[in-house]
């Protein structure tokens, strides 16, 4: 049996094994679940060295020499990286009753590094989003209410410069949606006014429209993955490999 056939056969069996949970939890599924977890765990321990530590830590610590005919030092060893090993190892104290607090040290450093990045990440992410929320709510071109369809594609750039009436209306609704939904997330303000209460309630409905739209487009992707698996089982395996129909 050629290797390709064995490989695809294993894949199909594993797929069916995991699908069997749809009928009910059974031994077949349990077998593949544990195998899955084991393989993933083993792979994790492989990539731990080969993908994470080898280059970013080990090579950085010992430096690197190119292995051409005339070796050139590419990178000097930053010996201080050696400190990271004992610091990382402090995480393991979590299993000790007495010194469990020490696991907080590597964790504290990771958290600190993450938190420090938030300021610039925040600005880079939300700055443009804020700007995009400030579209004009009155037309800058009153020649037509709807955005005209250009007869010549070259006119598109000119048309794109303006906001037409219909776009202004959409921009206005978008602004209202944004404000209503934001007001839904105001937690500490006790709205006495009915109008504000209506606004937060409206915010929740508008949110649901948005969620519905996300659901709709997400569903497509999930189904396409299923279709791909069906393609794998029925076309790649049964049709092309097992029965050699092309």
């Amino acid at each position: 049996m050629p290797y390709a056939t064995i490989k695809i056969f294993c894949g199909v069996i594993a797929t069916i094994g995991l699908y069997s949970v749809l009928y009910k939890e059974n031994k077949f599924y349990r077998f593949f679940e544990h195998m899955f977890l084991g393989l993933a765990g083993g792979w994790m321990l492989v990539t731990l060295w080969t993908e994470s530590l080898k280059e970013a830590w080990w090579d950085a610590m010992w430096g690197r020499v190119s292995d051409g005919a005339n070796p050139v030092i590419e990178q000097n060893g930053n010996y201080l990286w050696a400190i990271l090993l004992p610091i990382g190892a402090m995480g393991y104290f979590v299993v000790s009753k007495k010194h469990a607090w020490m696991s907080r040290i590597p964790i504290g450093i990771i958290i600190g590094l993450w938190s420090g990045q938030q300021f610039s990440a925040w600005l880079k992410k939300y700055g443009p989003q804020l700007q995009a929320s400030m579209s004009p709510i009155a037309p800058t071109n009153a020649e037509s209410f709807f955005r005209p369809i250009p007869a010549d594609p070259a006119d598109l750039a000119e048309i794109s410069k303006y906001t037409y009436g219909s776009q202004a209306v959409v921009n206005f609704i978008a602004l209202v949606t944004l404000l209503c939904v934001l007001s839904y997330f105001l937690f500490s303000i006790n709205f006495k006014a009915k109008s504000m209460n209506a606004m937060t309630k409206m915010g929740r409905y508008l949110l649901m429209i948005g969620f519905g739209a996300i659901f709709g487009s997400t569903v497509m992707m999930r189904f396409s993955l299923l279709i791909d698996r069906m393609y794998f089982i029925f076309i790649e395996f049964f049709k092309n490999t097992l029965f050699h129909i092309n």
Binding site: E33, Q131, L179, F187, F211
Partner: protein
């Protein structure tokens, strides 16, 4: 710190080679930080602050109560995200859940998919049992690391739900595609599910399949709501101020943009912030409005930069490709 901003603030003249990092937006960020810190310190004095009702959080006690009645375990999953604010927040909420469960001597299962999160989770959960005075009820195997691989994790959590017939499940944190696998599996064994994902794309699935869902920032409000710690409540008020400032800023920006984009331009502004009088008749362009300049700050003109000296210590050509 302030004179640093002043440095960035200098107009791009000869000799200045600092990229203007968007000083207004940077100030805006500092304003948020100020709002948060101010309210955190303010809240320390005023204990009685209002937080609106969050339905999903009131359900926590009910869910644990039911699990106790049935004698089945409570399952908690802090998502697959790395160790950051989201997973820390999830663990804070789980600390509360565990405390309630510990009082009822209800077994718990906390499944992690990230080693750093797993480390913190172990420490927090053990701490909770200790502070409740029942350290003997803490089983080390109740906090588990399953896999850092998304779908191996999903398969394993499903297996645990189905085999142990969990009665209450809490999915909080960064969930991705696996969200619906968990939610539907938990539903099939009749568990009460309280869920929250900071991933907006997953929220609709949780809404469809779970009993209670915390949407968006409700997740961050949760620990303030549950514990009423002054620091958390203060921070929440600071967050509200920030959102109000956003709303104001957006409305202001919209009005300004609307007015400015409808008016005739008198001068053109290029990417280096240099202005030239206009001869043609045209409207103001988006990058020339006040808001456009705030969000797209001018870059220094390379033509006017002070040249830099060559590095005498620079390596030989083949090593120069740094």
């Amino acid at each position: 710190m302030l004179d640093l901003i002043a440095q960035a603030d200098r107009p791009p003249v000869v000799g200045t080679q600092y990229y203007d990092a968007g000083k207004v937006m940077m100030l805006f960020t500092f304003m948020i930080v100020f709002f948060l810190l101010l309210n955190i310190f303010r809240a320390g004095k005023n204990k009685d602050l209002y937080i609106r009702r969050i339905a999903g959080l009131n359900a926590i006690d009910e869910a644990i109560g039911r699990a106790t009645e049935m004698g089945k375990p409570v399952l908690m999953v802090p998502g697959l995200g790395a160790l950051n604010a989201i997973s820390m927040q999830a663990l804070n909420i789980f600390g509360y859940v565990t405390r309630t469960a510990a009082r009822f001597a209800n077994p718990i299962r906390l499944c992690c998919g990230e080693p750093a999160v797993f480390t913190v989770a172990q420490e927090i959960i053990r701490d909770v049992y200790q502070s409740e005075g029942v350290p003997e009820r803490y089983e080390p195997d109740s906090v588990r690391f399953l896999s850092d691989r998304q779908f191996a994790f999903a398969a394993s959590v499903s297996g645990i739900i189905l085999r142990e017939q969990t009665a209450a499940t809490f999915f909080m944190g960064e969930f991705f595609a696996e969200s619906l696998i968990f939610a539907e599996t938990a539903n099939s064994v009749g568990a009460i599910q309280v869920a929250s994902s900071t991933e907006i794309t997953q929220t609709p699935f949780f809404i469809a399949a779970c009993d209670y869902v915390l949407i968006g920032e409700e997740f961050y409000a949760a620990s303030a709501y549950l514990t009423r710690q002054p620091v958390l409540v203060g921070s929440l008020i600071g967050q509200d101020w920030t959102k109000l400032a956003f709303m104001l800023f957006i409305v202001m920006g919209t009005v300004m943009n609307t007015m400015q984009l409808r008016s005739k331009a008198t001068e053109a502004v290029d990417g280096f912030g240099e202005r030239t009088p206009l001869t043609e008749d045209r409207l103001v362009l988006p990058n020339e409005t006040t808001m456009g300049r705030i969000f797209g700050p001018a870059k220094p003109n390379p033509a006017t930069m002070k040249p830099r000296e060559a590095d005498p210590e620079a390596a030989a050509p083949e090593g120069g490709s740094q």
